[in-house]
């Protein structure tokens, strides 16, 4: 998006920044040019926090434009957590990492996806950008009960919830952000939301667009589900 269009949006609405290009777990030095631009934009937008994904996606001289999976190993936890601390210190605003929609595990993994995610955010002492659709997608692809995932997360660290639609190919599911949120994902949302102290919810929709009115209606479903939640 050109800056002039962002400026028009900033005139009317608060903006929260969320990225896909940080590639924090990459075995490459942090991209300080990118981080400096990110910080300058964060100052301009006055974003209350900044988030990106717990993944890798670049190597020296190459960018893969995807959110690629990390081996869930203790050394990787330390490596990513250290970088997350540096990034948060540099940005001078709260930094959050989002859970991936996983399509692969490594044979050398030492822990589950939720254990890995928890270990990174706790060691780095950063926030969680929790994507509940990604919990569902990972659980389908890896074959576990999504409750195993979200019931073991430190949900008090969640700074925002992401919702999205996915594409179901039968034997696997892809997080495509181009469908309405599925009922199974709303069920997870209803379980997770009350335990987050009512953080903001964001509907992600970035392909096969539908009219704005319908998108807005889909986003407002979150409010309807929130009303049905019984707080304990």
């Amino acid at each position: 998006m050109p800056l002039r269009n962002l400026e028009k949006i900033l005139d009317r609405y608060p903006v929260v920044m969320h990225g896909v290009s940080l590639a924090i777990g990459s075995a490459a030095p942090l991209d300080w040019d990118y981080l400096k631009k990110l910080k300058a934009l964060a100052v301009k937008t006055k974003t209350p926090w900044l988030s990106d994904h717990l993944c890798w996606g670049r190597l020296p001289g190459a960018h893969f434009h995807d959110l690629l999976p990390l081996p869930r190993r203790n050394e990787v936890v330390h490596y990513v957590a250290e970088r997350a601390k540096i990034i948060q210190d540099f940005l001078e605003i709260p930094f959050a990492l989002e859970n991936l929609s996983s399509n692969a595990q490594f044979t050398t993994d030492e822990m589950s996806e939720w254990e890995f995610y928890t270990a990174v955010v706790e060691e780095a002492d950063i926030s969680m950008m929790l994507d509940v659709n990604n919990i569902y997608v990972s659980s389908r692809n890896e074959g576990y009960d999504p409750k195993d995932y979200y019931s073991q997360l430190p949900l008090e660290r969640v700074i925002q919830i992401h919702l999205a639609g996915h594409s179901d190919y039968g034997r696997y599911v892809l997080d495509t952000h181009d469908h309405p949120v599925r009922d199974e994902v709303w069920e997870i949302y209803k379980e997770v939301y009350p335990k987050t102290r009512g953080v903001a919810t964001l509907l992600e929709w970035d392909d096969r667009f539908i009219p704005f009115a319908e998108t807005w209606k889909e986003a407002l479903k979150a409010k309807e589900h929130q009303k049905q939640i019984t707080y304990v």
């Binding site: 269009n5 890798w56 893969f64 434009h65 995807d66 595990q105 034997r171 892809l174």
Partner: protein, 291 residues
């Protein structure tokens, strides 16, 4: 740690950036046995997918994402070739030669016109190259900076100060009206041109000159005279009014030109322009007669 992680990520990247092999019925890549063994050592299987199928999802997604981005950046080329041929003949060889190394997905195709100049050598190359430059220019203008403009009233005070054309104005010298051709191409989806004749395109008997500019959020082109083109070309590099006088012909409506340029906000004092190609010299191919 970083060494081990680097080895794993290098291995992973080598697989997903390789050209996609033949796909199975689930649209996942079919790998040779030796690679399957290699993948199984690294990637665990799931209840529904084998290790190589799980890796294949990332491989497929890498290419689909990049090819889709290239198609969005070069919409007229997609219409000229159709999606499949654009991927095979243009986007995939380009991405293999110049894999992305920038964090912005929208910049992955910025090197395509330059790459085509040396790597696309078929008979229709002039037309393909001209359209690639135009598609790139339209994309470029979306992000081009708007520098502080010179008001018409201030023109008389800047005879000895260098003036510049704004970065949101690009100039083209063509041997056919490829702008109109491109506009007509974009009026229909790529599937339309798989069954219909392409719009007519005739080589002009003389060179044609165009200015492409962004006004608010609209990008517009206009055909301009050779002398006006020459003036704008000099302003692109930056020039003082007093240095222009000997260069202009007595019949050139210089006052009107400058008043109009200033009124449109096309003039600036700043030379802080991004280093991107601005003047394009192309000739026209005859693709429509080959189909």
């Amino acid at each position: 740690m970083c060494k081990e992680l680097l080895a794993m990520q290098t291995w992973f990247a080598k697989i997903i950036t390789a050209p996609l092999p033949k796909m199975d019925s689930a649209n996942l890549p079919i790998y040779p046995p030796r690679l399957i063994q290699e993948i199984r050592k690294q990637i665990a299987s799931s209840p529904h997918l084998r290790s190589e199928e799980r890796m294949g999802i990332y491989h497929q997604q890498y290419w689909w994402r990049l090819l889709t981005a290239m198609q969005e950046l070069y919409p007229s080329l997609v219409r000229l070739f159709n999606h499949e041929d654009f991927n095979l003949q243009i986007a995939e060889p380009y991405l293999l030669a110049r894999p992305p190394n920038d964090w912005s997905l929208s910049r992955i195709g910025w090197g395509l016109p330059e790459w085509l100049e040396t790597h696309y050598l078929k008979k229709d190359a002039p037309l393909i190259l001209a359209l690639a430059h135009l598609d790139f220019a339209y994309e470029n203008l979306v992000f081009a900076e708007k520098l502080p403009k010179i008001e018409p009233a201030a023109l008389s005070q800047c005879k000895r100060t260098p003036l510049f054309l704004q970065p949101f104005v690009l100039l083209f010298e063509l041997e056919a009206d490829i702008f109109t051709f491109r506009t007509q191409l974009l009026e229909h989806p790529p599937s339309h041109w798989e069954t219909q004749d392409l719009p007519p395109l005739k080589k002009s008997s003389k060179k044609l000159f165009f200015a492409l500019s962004r006004n608010q959020d609209q990008t517009l082109y206009e055909e301009i005279s050779p002398s006006y083109f020459a003036l704008l070309s000099r302003l692109q590099k930056g020039t003082k009014l007093c240095d222009l006088l000997p260069f202009l012909a007595p019949c050139d409506p210089i006052v009107e030109w400058f008043q109009a340029l200033a009124a449109k906000g096309w003039l600036t004092f700043s030379s802080d322009r991004e280093k991107k190609p601005r003047v394009r010299k192309q000739i026209q191919g005859q693709k429509q007669t080959e189909n």
